[in-house]
């Protein structure tokens, strides 16, 4: 059973378009994180959201944590080829337990 479901699995868009990817669960998480992974490298932390309803912005990326803390979304405005990569969401099942990861959304931005 996958605790964190990410959608879509794959996304290919043109440069300049906007997009949203989703991370959903039937479980409540105390926090959720988003990572980006490029080929041949480990995931790199983008953001951590902690409070239900929280919105965080990182340049053209906007992250939102659902009010019930069961879901999160990542919105990219005016996507660029440099945004290409695998986007992963992750969270601790409870307390200080190790992170569980979703399977990721593979984004390709075409120039």
């Amino acid at each position: 059973t996958q605790l964190l479901e990410q959608s879509p699995q794959f996304l290919s868009i043109q440069e300049g378009e906007n997009l949203t990817v989703y991370c959903n669960s039937s479980s409540v998480f105390s926090s959720l994180q988003w990572y980006r992974q490029e080929p041949g490298e480990g995931p790199v932390l983008l953001v951590t959201v902690v409070t239900g309803g929280e919105v965080k912005k990182l340049k053209r990326l906007t992250f939102q944590f659902g009010d019930a803390r069961k879901d999160s979304s990542l919105h990219i405005t005016a996507a660029q080829p440099g945004d290409t990569g695998l986007y992963l969401c992750a969270g601790p099942v409870s307390g200080n337990t190790p992170l569980v990861f979703g399977k990721g959304t593979r984004l390709s931005v075409i120039a």
């Binding site: 994180q33 490298e41 480990g42 932390l45 992750a90 200080n96 190790p98 399977k103």
Partner: protein
């Protein structure tokens, strides 16, 4: 950036041989983790450590053992490698609000 290095970066080994992967950190972090990443499965936890000589199993621990004799080093051993252990292995440090990952070890068991 946190200093975390994995070695080797690539390895090809034969079925039935023992293999040890090394993770070294310079951040003096208490918590360290080993994950494997496979197509269709994402990142899955193998083992983790919450201090020197303190380790626990993760979701996919069968066939793997770990050791942590020093804060900075966390070793992952495949006692007798099988083809199903062909994967990319990542080490990480951190707590519930964020991990820092190494660059990974691509292991092929033939």
């Amino acid at each position: 950036d946190a200093g975390i290095t994995q070695s080797p970066r690539h390895k090809v080994t034969e079925t039935g041989t023992p293999v040890t992967l090394r993770c070294h950190q310079t951040e003096n972090h208490r918590y360290m983790y080993w994950y494997r990443q496979d197509p269709g499965h994402g990142l899955r936890l193998i083992h983790y450590s919450y201090g020197v000589k303190d380790t626990d199993k993760g979701e996919v621990s069968d066939g793997y053992s770990v050791s942590r004799s020093k804060t900075e080093d966390f070793l992952l051993t495949l006692e007798s490698a099988t083809s199903s252990q062909t994967s990319v292995y990542f080490c990480a440090i951190g707590r519930e609000h964020g991990y820092t990952f190494g660059s990974g070890t691509r292991l092929t068991v033939v």
